[in-house]
């Protein structure tokens, strides 16, 4: 067991749990929650890589020499805002699907489609 990899491993467990929800659950809102968990895990993976031992937040100030890496922070903070915008788009699709099929279970929607053809 190498404690230096603990963060990455937990993040992988979270990521895979999110992926499991996306694949195995048929409820569309549940799938989006899984996708959200997956997204936050990826963000955490990047932020973990940006951490420097003994570093501080990357805001220049006298008396500090070591700063954590600002580049992953920039990339991830915009990704979060884009993430909520795309989540809203997905939720809007779910609302429309419910209007058309009366259910948000993917399997039931697929069954209805099969009956139509």
């Amino acid at each position: 067991m190498d404690p230096g990899l603990y963060n990455y491993w937990v993040v992988i467990v979270l990521m895979m749990s999110g992926l499991y929800v996306v694949i195995a659950r048929s409820n569309l809102v549940k799938k989006l929650i899984g996708l959200n968990v997956f997204q936050v895990s990826v963000i955490m993976f990047y932020i973990s890589m940006g951490k420097v031992d003994g570093g501080t937040a990357p805001i220049l100030e006298d008396g500090f020499e070591i700063y954590s890496n600002p580049v992953p922070h920039v990339l991830m903070l915009t990704a979060i805002v884009v993430g909520v915008a795309t989540l809203a788009l997905a939720l809007a699709l779910v609302v429309r699907l419910y209007g058309a099929y009366g259910t948000i279970e993917e399997d039931e929607i697929a069954e209805m489609d099969d009956q139509d053809t």
Binding site: A24, D53, T78, V81, A88
Partner: protein, 323 residues
């Protein structure tokens, strides 16, 4: 010995527990609330890992706006998932275990957590940390990189947010007029007075985050979401009809586009003055002043678009009538 705090271990363990609860739960309302808590704990972890700006954004977006949007979706659809589809699925389980094992195997070649010699810290980052103080002249390196060094990227992200709201608008705006959905909680006196007292402070705080983002954590993205949160709170308590008197649909649409337009205009003006697209150094006599001005303007553009987009998204979901 590696510098792994106890708080880090405990918070990550919390996240795993919450995720597994989400997998088990059939009640979607509880699952959505847990997602909000998941985001809040993630924000704490980002804070521990020195990513203050990211923590700020995650707390405002994940625990605020996206939870509200998900709850509204549940109100418009159905709140429980069908137990028929909630059992343990073997094939997906094997797939994720296989992928997870491959990823864990991949981590053995990775630099250890916090290692200052890791490749990620030797390229680009040292230049930003050492030079940005002289070149851009603002203390928050994240804002320097976001607003100036990587401003093309940020322009792209703002455009994606803008495009997403157009998509939601096309999907959810309903030309038929009918009873307004989304009843207010107006009869609860504690909520009403509490909200009235809080909303102005939240808005002032958003402005502080917006304009102080050069010096401390914050910036257009966070400020936009916090400003929208104030309006969401007001709408939840006093109802859509009253909120729409101030934030009319037409005005919001203008603001959504106006922010992106302001961002792009700064780029075009810097081109007209002889620099590259979004090269702010030419905007003033002194390059550092030009950088200050450019970052202030594009952050304002980002803040306007993000706030207007978040409010529009919320209004579109609330305005939608139940089918």
């Amino acid at each position: 010995m590696i510098n792994l705090g106890l708080i880090d271990v405990v918070l990550l363990a919390f996240l795993v527990a919450i995720t597994w609860a989400i997998i088990q739960l059939r009640d979607l309302f509880a699952a959505v609330m847990l997602t909000g808590i998941f985001s809040l704990i993630s924000a704490c972890l980002f804070m521990v890992m020195d990513a203050v700006d990211v923590a700020f954004t995650e707390a405002a977006v994940g625990a605020g706006i996206s939870t509200v949007l998900m709850l509204r979706t549940l109100a418009l659809t159905s709140g429980r998932s069908n137990p028929r589809f909630n059992r343990l699925e073997l094939a997906p389980l094997l797939v994720v275990i296989a992928i997870g094992a491959a990823l864990v195997y991949g981590t053995f070649d990775m630099p250890r957590y916090g290692d200052p010699q890791a490749p990620i810290h030797t390229y680009m980052a040292p230049r930003f940390i050492e030079q940005s103080g002289d070149e851009v002249g603002i203390p928050n390196i994240v804002t320097s990189v976001l607003g100036s060094y990587r401003s093309y990227d940020t322009f792209g992200e703002t455009t994606v947010v803008f495009t997403a709201v157009i998509g939601v608008f096309l999907l959810l705006s309903d030309p038929r007029r009918g009873r307004r959905a989304g009843d207010a909680l107006r009869d609860d006196i504690i909520l009403r007075i509490g909200t009235k007292a809080l909303v102005p402070f939240i808005m002032v705080f958003a402005l502080y985050v917006q304009f102080h983002g050069d010096y401390g954590p914050g910036g257009g993205f966070q400020a936009g979401v916090i400003f929208a949160a104030a309006i969401v709170l007001y709408t939840l308590v006093f109802g859509l009809a009253r909120a729409e008197k101030i934030f009319r649909r037409r005005r919001l649409e203008l603001l959504v586009a106006g922010g992106v337009l302001l961002y792009g205009t700064v780029g075009v003006v810097s081109m007209a003055l002889g620099g590259n697209f979004l090269d702010y150094s030419v905007l003033a006599h002194d390059p550092v002043h030009g950088q200050h001005l450019g970052i202030l303007l594009i952050e304002l553009g980002v803040g306007i678009t993000v706030a207007a987009v978040m409010v529009s998204l919320f209004f579109l979901f609330v305005r939608r009538r139940q089918v």
